[in-house]
Amino acid sequence: MISKTLVAASTKPIILSILISGEDYGYQIIQRVKDISGGTLEWSDNMLYPLLRRLEKGGLLVGRWKTSKEGRLRRYYRITDKGREELESERRQWMSVNQALSKLWKPLPSLE
């Protein structure tokens, strides 16, 4: 189980990273996060959708309504240029945290 703060901090980069490979809709995003994380990250709708709305207002995403093959109306999100920049900066931050932690943890096998 991942702590609440860490989940909150990681949602934005994860969403942006998922959408970089193409547009997608909310339900599918939750499924993909679940698959990728091997089930450790299980997002709820009440977290994702408000966040999507926020990112859209912030100009990082663009959403549009599309009818799927099953005839269901779905809102698909696409990443914008601003979103790409944001993701790049997020990526750099996460990488440096990751590097620091990796260096710190390497000589401490006892942690296993």
């Binding site: 809709y25 909310g26 339900y27 709820s44 709708d45 009440n46 977290m47 959708y49 408000p50 966040l51 709305r53 926020r54 207002k57 912030g58 309504w65 099953e70 269901r72 109306l73 779905r74 809102r75």
Partner: protein, 872 residues
Amino acid sequence: MFDLEKEIRNWLKALRRSEDLEDSDIAELESHLRDEIDHQIKKGVDKEAAFRAALEKSAPADILGQEYEKAKLYERTRPFWHPSRIMPSLIWSYIKISLRAIKRQKGFSLINIAGLAVGMAICILILIWVQDELSYDQFHANSDRIFRVIEHEGLSSGEVLSYTQQSPALGPVLKSEYPEILESVRYDSMSNRLVQYGDQKFYEKGFSFVDSEFLTVFTFPLKVGNPETALKDPASIVISERMAKKYFNQSDPMGKVLRIDNRVEYTVSGVLENVPENSHLKFEFLAPFATIKQFGQTIDGWYDFYLDIYVLLAENVDYHDVNAKVRNVISKHSKKDSFTVDLQPLNRIRLFSNTILTPQVEGDIKYVVIFSLVAVFILLNACINFMNLATARSGRRAKEIGMRKVIGASRRQLIRQFFGESILTAFISLIIAMGLVYLLLPAFSQLSGKHMSFSMLAQGNVLLGLLGITLFAGLISGVYPALVLSAFQPVTVLKRIINSGTRGTSFRRILVIFQFMMTSVLIIAMFVVFQQLNFLRKQDMGFAKDQVVCIQLPRDLTPKVDLLKTSFEKIPEVTGTSSASAIPGRRRALTSLDEWEGRGSEDRIELGIIDVDEDFLSLFDLEMVEGRFYSREFPSDKDEALVVNQAAIRVMSMENPQGKKVIGKRIVGVIKDFHMRSLHYKVAPLALILNKKESRVVFIKIMTSNPSQTIASLESCWSSIAPEYPFEYRFLDEDLEQLYQGDRHLGKVVNASAALALFVACLGLFGLASFVAEQRTKEIGIRKVLGASVPEIFSLLSRDFIKWVLIANAIAAPIAGYAMTKYLNTYAYHSNLGLVSFALPVILTLIVALLTIGWQVLRAAWSDPVRSLRYE
């Protein structure tokens, strides 16, 4: 039976109850739910179980709502308890509060709005005036390529004289020798030509002679006729619409014949639109240049300087380069080697000609600057009132400010609110100011000697100016309240720690002092100008100017001058007559003199010349200091004798002038200096030449208690000798008054602006005084109860104001002293800056200030202590 759609509808209904969820959010959540249900069904459960499972995974409606709300707030990148930058819903509230504040403080708002309106009205008037001054000669299509030729002459004293008058030969030479000069046009205006059509005869001003290219170089459009050819025919004449109406009324003027001075006939070949007021060239008739010969002027040669020359340069030519080339054109062609020439741009003629000796200079950039400054002064005064009253009354608003802050207003919002309020006030003032301008415009037109109409406001840059003035007034007035009031700490304000009114006292003091200083400067200026005008009127011109009638003499009548004189002298009220080439004080011919006995080889002076007869001395009560005046006893005087004034002797540095040779004649007498020009100028060297052939004016000295009867006898005398010329006369003293018309205009403007500045300053003082009286009501009550008398309380309350006014005067004195000394130095003869000029403003401002605050203060002093002590 489980109905999935119904359950979903119920679920949606719950969602819709949340305020934070929008329809699109709900649609998206529904889509999500359905996906989840499908997913569950695929796993093999029935619809009901799938729905329950999906619902389990999803949050309840209220939680969802909260999450969305949080996300929304987060978007603003500020904590939710901070107000947003712009709250459109509050704008109406601001306007309401502003109007309410204006309404609730009627007296103060009145002072603010009245003051601002007056200030703005003055600004607008001056703006129109400045706009008009700057628009001079801009209407010509080629205005940036037209230049006037100026010539400079160095005197041996080191002084350089600049003239516009050129010799006729220069015009064609400029055009033929310099490829950059496309056209050159000669222009000379003669006043008082007698124009006749049928039996209508009038003396006309603005009769001008021009080269035929004049109408193509300048843009004076013709209503009828072709500008290219209208002046080609030597007997053609172009007249203004005004004149066409005057002489021909409804009938077609083209082809009609006008007779000038009873001799020369012209055929009308074109009708001009009336010359715009903002043209420095003013004329009603344009005749071909060559015909000026018939009016006694040469049309060729290098030595007769009387006409103006304008040139049109080729496109993309820098006139400075041309200046360098034409500089020595005169010395190249004539013996006048001390003359240089340069070009003055057309659009500088109106405002930048004060160093050039030209027949009339009306505009001056100095006046434009001074009036603009005065306008800004008065507007500033009004703004200061606003600031003062706003800060003084800040206590009243303090609670409102505190409340707004507690509820969550940011400082920025308050600043915007106060600026909004002051700008709103400024706009209300603007409307009133426009009304004032409309009412004042006729008076202002008269004051400034300019024809102005309300429609001048409709020009683009004037409108921009109006907007600028309004915003300026609004921002300046609002700056202090906006910055200071908005900085109030809500706690201190609401706990009444700030005693309303004590805030900004020193700031207010400085503003009031500043205000009164400006006013005082204007009042001192008013006194000095008044004194100087008085001085000009009273100053002895050195010749007798009272009871002298002047009659212009047409050239044709000069042979009859003696006949006229003798027949005038037969009238019993006439005590003497004389004739001369010019009116004393008015104008004179100038020549540069470089030939006299005992002259140093490089000496060169400017010598004025007036042609007179033998009676000139006695008629004007002039005095000889040496030798004698012309006399009929010496018939050879006409050719050999010369009388000069003391100034001429001085500049020629002659020891024993009598008998010395100058301009081919011998000096027989030296006349005491008298003023041949206005008192702006020093008495200049002058030669009086006995030459009746150049008589242009007849002077008649009368001694009568019934002038109109005497004039009637003069007229009957005139018409028996010269029936073909109308009888037109002027009194010399009235004529001389016109020399100072410009000065009187200035005087009036200074008076008006000083009065207005004082009025606006007093408005502010009145407001402050009433405020102070109100503030100290309780204190006064206590003092009265303890035994203070009314005079004591009066002096207590007015002491501060008096101190401020005195300090203001003390600061104003040196500033005004400096400025006024500069002003007086523009006159060669002027009154002195007396102590009176400085003492009077002090007394005046003090009295006015006391009167202004008096009522408020007395009311406070007289008030019943019982009431005031109960007052809260």
